[in-house]
């Protein structure tokens, strides 16, 4: 498989999971956009373009998974805080369980016959 294909898979995977990572970050307390972006960036570049988190958050709000409030900021423009709803909390819990199974399965497969990159599969055909 060419490396580009693997990268594409990771990109798609990232897109699929970032929404639930955002929900997970809201489990402890409400957060505002830049706060979420900072956390996601520190977690290994889960966002490619930071600005796209706002459409994502709007979608979560439309789906009833988060609610929002505008709050004054002492240093600048008002910030919009996002908080998890009960549905959002349930969604994170479900995803967490599914992800654990998925991750274990993938790890098991990948962790099995791990071969060093330099060792090609030697066709040890002894037959002559």
């Amino acid at each position: 498989m060419e490396p580009g294909g693997a990268r594409n898979v990771i990109t798609q995977l990232r897109r699929g999971v970032v929404e639930h990572c955002v929900l997970a970050l809201l489990r402890d307390r409400p957060r505002y956009g830049f706060d979420l972006v900072r956390e996601l960036s520190e977690a290994g570049g889960l966002l490619t373009s930071e600005g796209t988190i706002y459409p994502l958050l709007a979608r979560l709000r439309r789906d009833g998974l988060v609610v929002t409030t505008w709050q004054e900021s002492e240093t600048g423009p008002p910030r919009r805080y996002y908080a998890l709803t009960d549905d959002g909390r349930a969604s994170v819990a479900t995803f967490g369980a599914e992800w654990a199974r998925f991750k274990d399965g993938v790890d098991r497969v990948l962790g099995g016959p791990v071969v060093a990159p330099t060792s090609p599969r030697a066709p040890e055909r002894s037959a002559g």
């Binding site: 490619t48 373009s49 600005g51 988190i53 994502l56 709007a58 009833g64 929002t68 600048g76």
Partner: protein, 199 residues
């Protein structure tokens, strides 16, 4: 305080965002929300930087991503980050949760500015409007367009009134002065030189 939001590169980025959102058919309420959030984001990102240089500002905007990408992620199926849950219909106006007015765009400073720019014109003839314009430009909530509108209201309108009064005075009282093609009836307005070529 948030001078960085008046940085021309930031202002241009926000204008591009507005145009892209308008072109994509986002509702006015959603456009205002998106702009307010991106604006707050830029402020927070720049506040975290040790110094404000052009490359730093550009870097913050680069990390935000192209405005087209942000707008495309708004839900028409072209997912920017998380395409999950995208409904196939066109994005309707949000059902009930988001307030139509989006962010609070008026605080004490903005009300003071408005009072100075209107009542202040009469109560404190010169000082009032000038202070009102200063308050408007100190505002972190009003957009650049709003501040320019406040400046027009605070400075240009009274100036035009003074000019109009002067014109009236010159044509009425000081008839010896031959300055003007300005008719007394219209004050500062241009003379109606359009000849009715109806026949």
């Amino acid at each position: 305080m948030s001078v960085e939001l008046d940085h021309p590169v930031v202002a241009a980025y926000l204008d591009q965002l507005d145009r892209a959102a308008t072109a994509a058919g986002l509702s006015g309420g959603r456009r205002a929300e998106l702009r307010a959030e991106i604006r707050a984001h830029v402020h927070d990102a720049l506040a975290a930087e040790p110094e404000l240089t052009d490359p730093v500002v550009s870097g913050v905007l680069d990390r935000l991503g192209p405005v087209e990408e942000i707008v495309a992620a708004e839900g028409t199926g072209a997912g920017g980050v998380g395409g999950a849950g995208a409904d196939p219909q066109a994005p309707p106006p949000p059902p009930s949760l988001p307030p139509p007015g989006a962010p609070p765009s008026w605080g004490a400073l903005e009300y003071v500015a408005l009072a100075l720019l209107t009542v202040g014109q009469v109560v404190l003839p010169v000082v009032g409007p000038v202070a009102g314009v200063a308050c408007a430009w100190a505002s972190t909530r009003w957009s650049r367009g709003g501040k320019i509108a406040a400046t027009v209201l605070g400075v240009l309108v009274p100036l035009l009134v003074v000019l109009a009064a002067a014109a009236v005075w010159l044509t009425a009282g000081g008839s010896s002065v031959e300055v003007g093609p300005v008719p007394a009836s219209t004050g500062f307005l241009p003379p109606p030189t359009v000849t009715a070529g109806g026949g």
